[in-house]
């Protein structure tokens, strides 16, 4: 819908146009919001540095931050290649889990017999330790991309389904009644009311899912791979190359954090109306 800017630009008493915050203000704002976790991270780094500098632990067990960074820059090409592989597996697994999860949730909400059939199966699939079935998947699907993606899907799928089912069921029944008084069909009710109303729930599920998908991909790589960060860590482990091991771990966590932030950003873009995303209009709060 194109908004009628002509009517809304008419000045109304008591309604003032707000200045858009400048770039400088936005940066300051971002700094003001994120300095605490940054300080905490720096504190951890310092602690790590102190432990290694004071040689509280043997250097071959815990490498110094400098050494780890050294490895990261020396082997940047190698790490980058494997990082990309793991990221690709994670993303593929996450996207498939999101699509299949949402579809399964919709089916389950609209048909109670499907729900009764699927729920136990889902729960079963969820409680099986993924580390335990990963070898089987490798036997079945080979050493390529497939088993890693499948493990990522299996592990990320559950939070998506659960959150989406909750979201679709949590719609105010009066909204559905409203839609009925408008003569809306089930498809219209779904697309204009049910689905948008369930998005906040879905996004909390997606945020959990994306971090789990990283774990899934790495678990898949542990079991049988010649590429990816899981492989890097296993190799480093075999060679007692702790700096590389630490580097792999750091990068792996970074993937999870970046993907999480991306999903959160998408949430912010898509759901500016949601209570958890408001607050711009607040003048004074205690």
């Amino acid at each position: 819908m194109v908004s009628q800017s002509t009517t809304s630009s008419v000045p109304v008493a008591g309604v003032a146009e707000r200045d858009r915050p400048g770039a400088g203000e936005q940066v300051l704002d971002a700094v003001a919001r994120s300095w605490r976790p940054v300080v905490l991270l720096l504190a951890c780094l310092v602690l790590w540095w102190v432990i290694t500098a004071a040689e509280l632990v043997e250097a071959y067990l815990v490498p110094s931050p400098a050494k780890t960074l050294q490895v990261m820059s020396d082997k940047a090409g190698y790490i980058w290649h494997h990082t990309w592989i793991t990221t690709y597996e994670t993303l593929l697994g996450f996207v498939i889990a999101a699509i299949v999860g949402v579809l399964a949730a919709v089916l389950m909400v609209y048909s109670s017999s499907i729900e009764r059939t699927l729920y136990p199966v889902l729960l079963f699939a969820q409680v099986i330790p993924k580390v335990a079935i990963a070898p089987l998947l490798v036997v079945w699907l080979g050493f390529g991309l497939a088993p890693k993606v499948v493990v990522a899907v299996l592990i990320a799928f559950f939070p998506v389904v659960i959150s989406m089912v909750t979201g679709l069921k949590a719609v105010d029944p009066e909204m559905i009644q409203l839609s009925a008084t408008m003569g809306a069909g089930p498809l219209q009710t779904f697309s204009k009311i049910r689905f948008p109303a369930s998005l906040p729930h879905l996004f909390s599920g997606l945020k959990v899912a994306v971090t789990l998908a990283v774990t899934g991909a790495v678990v898949g790589e542990f079991v049988g791979a010649n590429e990816g960060l899981g492989y890097v860590i296993q190799q480093a482990n075999g060679n007692l190359d702790t700096p590389m091991l630490f580097a792999g771990l750091l990068v792996m966590s970074l993937i999870g954090v970046v993907l999480f932030v991306l999903v959160e950003f998408a949430e912010k873009l898509l759901l500016p109306w949601h209570a958890s995303r408001r607050g711009a209009a607040v003048t004074t709060t205690y």
Binding site: S8, A180, K192, L271
Partner: protein
């Protein structure tokens, strides 16, 4: 505001627009059964304005939902515009007791939801939305989201949404509950005008005795749970009613006095 979404058959004249016969509604929950309505029979003629008053929890909202086909009576029958009600009806405009707005849509797009669901022509619904926004004093807040609106503003958005498609029957559940006295008065006057111009059948649930008497042809007074109809009061006032002079008329005083007696008796009976 003359055309309607469907032919309503004005020539049908005083044919029953809403007819409830011996209706009872029982809610079964795990803990207990509640009889919300019992022995309710009501005939509302086409173009008539009926107000419903009664103590809280007596089944007023339940009654409106029955007429809209959103609830099924446990016994008895409901007819709307000569047809038995067998499921949700869309030849109505419904104002819910809570504004029931979609949080992710601006005020204007909440009103336009009605048009989208009914696939109304875009330019007509757009113009009508602008008219309704102006009429209800929401100008300047078209693009505000529900959480940026006051409770009364939200109710006005819900009112606009229910009026957008010019329904032949309007069901309103305390549409002015959260409004200040003056805005409420203005909207009462507007509602009276809309009703006279469109001859829409209106069922209005309200807690305001004055509002009921100012707007309605007849007032249904209900008793406390289980809700039954205590009395139906005729308001002998002309359809066109000036606010101040109507309040001063003896017919108005008689109607409001009678409602007070009935409601007082109902609450004194507990």
């Amino acid at each position: 505001m003359v055309e309607r979404s469907e032919g309503t058959g004005k020539e049908a004249g005083r044919g029953g627009s809403v007819r409830l016969e011996d209706v009872a509604v029982r809610f079964r929950t795990k803990k207990k059964d509640v009889t919300a309505l019992r022995d309710v029979s009501l005939d509302v003629a086409e173009g008539e304005f009926v107000a419903i008053v009664g103590p809280s929890g007596c089944g007023k909202s339940t009654l409106l939902k029955l007429v809209a086909g959103l609830l099924k009576p446990s016994s008895g029958s409901v007819r709307l515009r000569e047809e038995p009600v067998t499921g949700p009806r869309n030849d109505i405009g419904y104002v819910f007791q809570r504004a029931a707005l979609l949080e992710w849509r601006s005020a204007r797009r909440n009103i336009l939801l009605q048009a989208e669901m009914r696939r109304m022509p875009a330019d007509r619904s757009r113009r009508r939305t602008a008219d309704l926004i102006a009429m209800t004093g929401l100008a300047g807040f078209e693009d505000a989201y529900p959480h940026e609106l006051s409770g009364g503003m939200q109710q006005r958005v819900a009112l606009c949404r229910a009026l957008l498609h010019e329904p032949p029957v309007l069901l309103m559940d305390e549409p002015f509950g959260a409004l200040d006295a003056l805005t409420r008065e203005q909207l009462n006057i507007e509602l009276n005008r809309i009703w006279r111009e469109t001859r829409t059948t209106v069922l209005l649930v309200t807690h305001s005795i004055a509002e009921a008497a100012y707007l309605a042809n007849r007032i249904v007074v209900m008793t406390d749970r289980p809700g039954t109809i205590a009395e139906v009061i005729d308001v002998d006032l002309p359809d066109e009613r000036d606010y101040a002079t109507t309040m001063a008329r003896p017919e108005f005083a008689r109607a409001t006095g009678r409602i007070r007696d009935l409601l007082g008796a109902a609450s004194a009976a507990d």
